[in-house]
Structures are given as C-alpha cells and as structure tokens.
C-alpha cells in the first residue's frame, strides 16, 4: 500500500512563505532576478526546512531547531546604526576596510569607501540589482548550490550584500571586512555577496557576523567567491553572533589554476550555527588550506559542513577543524572530499578534532572521501576526547593552577588551526578572543 505523505508545514515554513509573498514585489532586481527568486523559493517550498532524515542535515535538524521564522528586518534606524559603530572588536587592531551592514542593509556612513586601491571596486547587491548590473548577474548564483535549501532561501530573499571586484594583477593590501551587525530587533536578514578576484590578484576578505546577546534574530548569509588563476585569496569568517541568534551561512568558492586559497572559520557565537563551505577546484596546481576553530558552550549548536570538490588535477587541499565544547554544547563537522575522474594527483588531507570539556557535550564528526581517480593521495582523521589529565597534572606540578593549566592546553589545541592564518595581526586577535572565551569560562 502506498500512502501519500502530506507534509504539514511548520510554523517557520509557513512564516517564510508569508515573508516571501509579502516581500517579493519590493525585493531588488528586474524580472529575470524575480524569476530566479521564484525558482529558488520553489526549491524551498518543495523540500521544506531540512530535517534529520536529510543526510546533509542529519545532525542539524533545522526543522526542529528553527521554531519560527522572523519577519524580514526593516531598514535600520538611527539608534541601530549608532550601536553598530562599536562593532568589529573581534578583529582587534587589524586595520581593515570596513563595509558595514546593519540587519542586512548596507550603511554607507559607517563604511569606508574612500580612497579605494587601484583595481578595487566595491558596490552593494541592492544597488547592483537595482541597476541591473550585468557583471553581477553573470556571477550571481554561479557557485552557490541551487538545490541547497539554505542557499535557495538566500537567493529568494536576498536584500543586500557586498559586490566586490579586484582586477587582474592588483594587490589589495588592506583586508576587506564585511561586517554584518544585527540590531536589537527580532528579525531576519538575508545577505548575499559576490566577490571576484581576477587572475594574479591578491586580496583578503574578512566576513564577520555579530549581534546583541539576548535577541533571537536570524541571519542567512551567502558569499560567492571567484578566485582567478594564480590569484591569492585569504577568506576569514568570524561568527560571533549573539547567544540567541540563528545563523546559517554558505561560502561557495571556485578556485582557478595555480592559485592559493585559504579559508578560516571561527565560530564562537550563536545559539544555532550552520557554516557551509562549498569549494570547487576548477584549475590545476592550486593549493588550498581550509581551517576552522569553534568554541562552544551552554546549549550552543554549531555545524560546519564542507564539500571540497576536486575537478582539476594536481591540487592540494588541507583541512583542519578544531572544536572545543563545554557544558551541553553540540558540535558537528561534516567534511566531504570529492575527487573527480580527471583530478589525478590530488593531494587532500582532512583532520577534525573535538575537545570535550564536559561529559554532556556532544561532538559528531562525519568525514567522507569520494574518489573517482586512481592516482591520488587522500586521507582523513577524526578524534574526540577530553583534556589529557596527565598533561594537566604535569602543568599543575609546576605550579600552574587547574584553570590556567586547562586554558593553556585548550589554547594549544586550537593554536594548531589558528596558527595557519597568514595575517599575523588577525592571528593574534583570534588568540585574544580564545583567551577571553577561556577567561569567561569559570
């Protein structure tokens, strides 16, 4: 007997449908963009919010974790903009060029668009869509996987974001910082950024997300990043959302030949975080390092899901993800390395480690290798464990108190991932952030 399954919409799914219906006609873009939004929303409408029976979302049951969908945030008021002035503390003394978005809307007066380096152009998604910018529409949606529900919702509801281009051969010394700040409003923002770094160019992009501690706002952020042949791009994502926030973000990257690409994700905030990385190796001889560190406590849930897709031959990828979990935190790492038939001489290694500071914390690791070529070197490793009591005793026997001994060991654990960041100032800023987290621990 075949029973027809009727899916009952959850409150969040119904609210998302309402939000889209209400916003559809005023979201930026021409008819072609509107048609894309409709198609993307249709992907969501058919699938619903992903749940535990959807393999890619097995450990992050968004249908259960997302109790409701917040209304789209209205443009930020003066008070929200004023508060956003103090945002970005996590990057410390690192001098960046800031592009500030409050509740997903670009705020020119808080941003630094003066004296752009030669070869750098910066615009916003809202402006580019409104103007029907052909360069943007040519890139938009090219990399982000259309069938991913988080991406689909982003495409349907994207309001603003950064549109950045670095022309061939240009070196942008000052890191670009996309600073996404949530206001005190319990609302949702959908931001989409498109970054094109052309052949031989060099740039660093820091994407940081933060907001107030006790507001249940929601963020869906997506970045499409094009790394040209022989380009060198460093990407850093800092997820420091407030403790009640829901954050879903996706980075989709295509890397050309003989390029260098480094990505680092730092997760220390948010009630529920899903950090997705989709990486395509389109050109041969590229070297990529994808790393991350997560610090979770309370009842935080943070999921990092990575797909490294080796299409071209002779690329090297290194993935190192470290998670520290305290209290009842739940950490998830899903990493898939795919080696396509033509991607001979691929060298891919993935390591993921979880350090559990509490017996009630949970870490799920799901590494996967899908190899369709026969001359490759690929491997993965996963560990999960508690702090080493013998090491702690050794430190204490030298006079270091228990809490300081634990802090030293935790810093050492995360250090291996953080030390991979090429920018010394940012490396130090993140070690400071780790020290602050440890200090607040007990």
């Amino acid at each position: 007997m075949n029973a027809e399954l009727t899916t009952i919409k959850t409150a969040a799914e119904a609210a998302l449908a309402d939000a889209f219906a209400a916003a559809r006609d005023r979201l930026p873009g021409d008819d072609a963009v509107a048609a894309r939004r409709d198609a993307a929303f249709d992907v969501f409408a058919r699938a619903g919010l992903p749940h535990r029976r959807v393999e890619d979302w097995k450990y992050t049951d968004l249908r259960a974790l997302m109790r409701d969908a917040k209304p789209l945030a209205p443009p930020p008021d003066a008070a929200a903009k004023a508060r956003a002035k103090s945002a970005g503390a996590i990057t410390g003394d690192v001098e960046t060029r800031r592009l500030v978005f409050v509740d997903g809307a670009f705020v020119a007066e808080l941003s630094d668009l003066a004296g752009l380096e030669p070869g750098l152009t910066v615009s916003t998604l809202a402006a580019a869509l409104a103007a029907g910018d052909a360069a943007l529409t040519a890139h938009l949606g090219k990399l982000a996987p259309a069938n991913d529900v988080a991406v689909a919702l982003n495409t349907a509801l994207m309001g603003d974001g950064a549109v950045i281009r670095v022309t061939a051969g240009a070196t942008i010394a000052r890191p670009l910082q996309l600073l996404f700040v949530a206001s005190e409003r319990s609302a949702a923002s959908f931001v989409r950024s498109v970054i094109v770094v052309e052949r031989g160019a060099r740039a660093m992009v820091i994407e940081s997300h933060e907001g107030p501690p006790a507001v249940d706002y929601q963020v869906n952020a997506a970045v499409e990043l094009f790394v040209g042949d022989q380009a060198h791009v460093d990407h850093v994502k800092l997820i420091g959302e407030g403790g009640d926030a829901l954050h879903v973000s996706s980075l989709a990257v295509a890397v050309g030949a003989r390029a260098r690409f480094n990505s680092f994700s730092f997760v220390a905030g948010g009630a529920v975080v899903r950090n997705q990385l989709f990486l395509n190796f389109d050109g041969e001889g590229t070297v990529a390092a994808i790393r991350g560190a997560s610090l979770l406590k309370g009842r935080q849930h943070a999921d990092t899901t990575l797909v490294a897709n080796h299409i071209a031959p002779a690329c090297q990828s290194r993935e190192v993800f470290k998670t520290v979990l305290d209290d009842e935190a739940h950490g998830v790492f899903q990493g898939r390395i795919i080696v396509r038939p033509h991607a001979q001489k691929t060298d891919g290694k993935m390591m993921t480690q979880a350090l559990l500071l509490s017996e009630r914390a949970e870490a799920d690791n799901k590494p996967e290798l899908e190899i369709f070529a026969d001359d490759v070197q690929c491997g993965h490793g996963a560990t999960a464990g508690a702090l080493d009591d013998e090491l702690k005793f050794y430190l204490m026997a030298r006079g270091i108190p228990a809490a300081a001994a634990e802090a030293l060991l935790i810093q050492a654990f995360l250090g291996e991932a953080i030390e991979g960041i090429e920018h010394a100032g940012l490396r130090e800023a993140l070690m400071e952030a780790v020290a602050a987290w440890l200090k607040a621990r007990k």
């Binding site: 026997a397 030298r398 006079g399 270091i400 030293l408 050492a412």
Partner: protein
C-alpha cells in the same frame, strides 16, 4: 623542624596497596637517596608527594614545612616549594617551552605574593640556566619536550627545577636513559643547587648517579616500606650485593 615528614604512609592505586606504612624525615639541606627494586613503590612515593589524582593515600600523614600536604592541590604544593622531576617528562604539543616556563614561574610567584618577573629579566635567567645545562635556545622555542631526546627531556626537567628554585626536589629516576655525559650535566645541575636551605630526595635504581650526587642518607625501599637506612656507603653495598635480601625481608 623537618622540611618533609612522612609518617606511616599507605597509598593505594586502583584499590591495590603500594605503599604500606612508609616513614621518612627530610631536614633542610639534606640529600636523601631512595633505592629499591622495581615495583617497590619508589615512583608511587614521588607521585603521591606531587599530588597525582589516582594515587590515594589511605592512611598516615605527610607534612611539608609543617603543613598537611594532602590538603594542598598539586599547584599549591609546587608554589610551597615542592618539585618533582618526572621519570617520564610529558610532551605538550602547542605549548612553547618559554611560555610554559614563564607561566609556571609567574604562577608560583603570584601565589607567594611576589611580583611577576619582567620579560627581559625572565629571558636573562632562562638563558643563563639553560646555557649551564647545555640546552640550546632552539629547544626553548619548541613545544615542551616535543621532539626532544630522552636526555634533553631530563635536562629540561633540571632547567625547570633550577628556574623554580624549590625547597624540596624529588628526582624520580632522573638518571634513567642518560648516557654518562648527560648524567654528569644533570648531576652538576643538581649539585649547583645544593644549599643549606634546599633538600633533595633522589630516587634511583642504580648507584651510578650517587657517585655524582653524593647523598647524606640512603634508604632502601622494598615492599612499600623503608627497610633500611644508612649513609652513602649503603649505596655501594647495594650495588655490590643487590636487593635480594631486602626483598625477602619485605616479603617476610
């Protein structure tokens, strides 16, 4: 007053009694050697003094400088002046040796109410001490004991001791795995720290080390108890005759 006073100490690991009524008194300035066969409880004594978790004292008491030792956490014992040179020093990946030394020294100073050492002062002291122990600067930049040879690890223990200036140092088989040159360096390091205020308990299986670190008093530990105490000549006697007679005594 004795610096260390151990009275009728019984210690169990996983419910199995290892020390069975050990008595030991160490006065300021004395060097005691504790010798004994494998499994007699030598390392257990070292660990229980330092405060390792799974070593449970079941009877007896230990006073360090008049204070009940078992009321103090391992870090408090260290700050009070107790130092254990580990038989198997641990490797700590990701923690630079200099960071480790500095954190330890400043934690102890802080607990004692002394000011933290400034960076230049600290570096100067470490350079001076490491030079004397033949530890090169490159080793200090590396993670604690990671990639160190056995001899380097032992020298690193002695460096920590010299830097932390304890009142009582317990050396747990510091001679094991050392060649004769390394043994001399380690012994010189210990001898240079000997003073009327500082005491040592040198735990060893062999007499060899005691030719270089000459003890005031030698104890034989067997079956979890001190079964004989004598002068430095006792070590030579043990070397010549072995532990057999004491093992029988302990079993009886």
């Amino acid at each position: 007053m004795a610096l260390l006073e151990v009275k009728n100490l019984h210690v169990a690991i996983d419910g199995k009694e290892i020390l069975k009524g050990l008595d030991l008194t160490v006065n300021a300035g004395e060097v005691h050697a504790i010798m004994g066969p494998n499994g007699s409880g030598k390392s257990t004594l070292a660990y229980v003094l330092a405060g390792r978790d799974d070593y449970t004292p079941t009877a007896g008491e230990v006073r360090f400088d008049g204070k009940a030792l078992f009321d103090m956490a391992p870090d408090e014992r260290a700050a009070a002046g107790l130092f254990l040179a580990f038989q198997y020093p641990l490797e700590i990946p990701g923690v630079a040796t200099m960071t480790f030394l500095r954190t330890a020294l400043n934690a102890q100073r802080k607990k004692r109410g002394d000011a933290e050492l400034s960076t230049p002062e600290f570096i100067k002291r470490v350079r001076e001490l490491s030079g004397r122990l033949g530890i090169d600067q490159d080793m200090l930049r590396r993670a604690v004991n990671v990639g160190f040879s056995g001899g380097e690890k032992k020298r690193n223990e002695i460096l920590q001791m010299a830097l932390l200036e304890p009142r009582l140092a317990v050396l747990d088989e510091t001679d094991s795995g050392l060649d004769i040159d390394a043994l001399k360096i380690v012994a010189d390091g210990v001898n240079s720290l000997r003073s009327p205020q500082r005491s040592f308990v040198v735990i060893t299986h062999y007499q060899r080390l005691l030719s270089y670190i000459v003890p005031d008093i030698v104890h034989v530990l067997s079956g979890g108890r001190i079964v004989k105490t004598g002068g430095k000549e006792l070590a030579l006697e043990l070397e010549a005759r072995g532990y057999a007679e004491y093992q029988e005594e302990a079993a009886a």
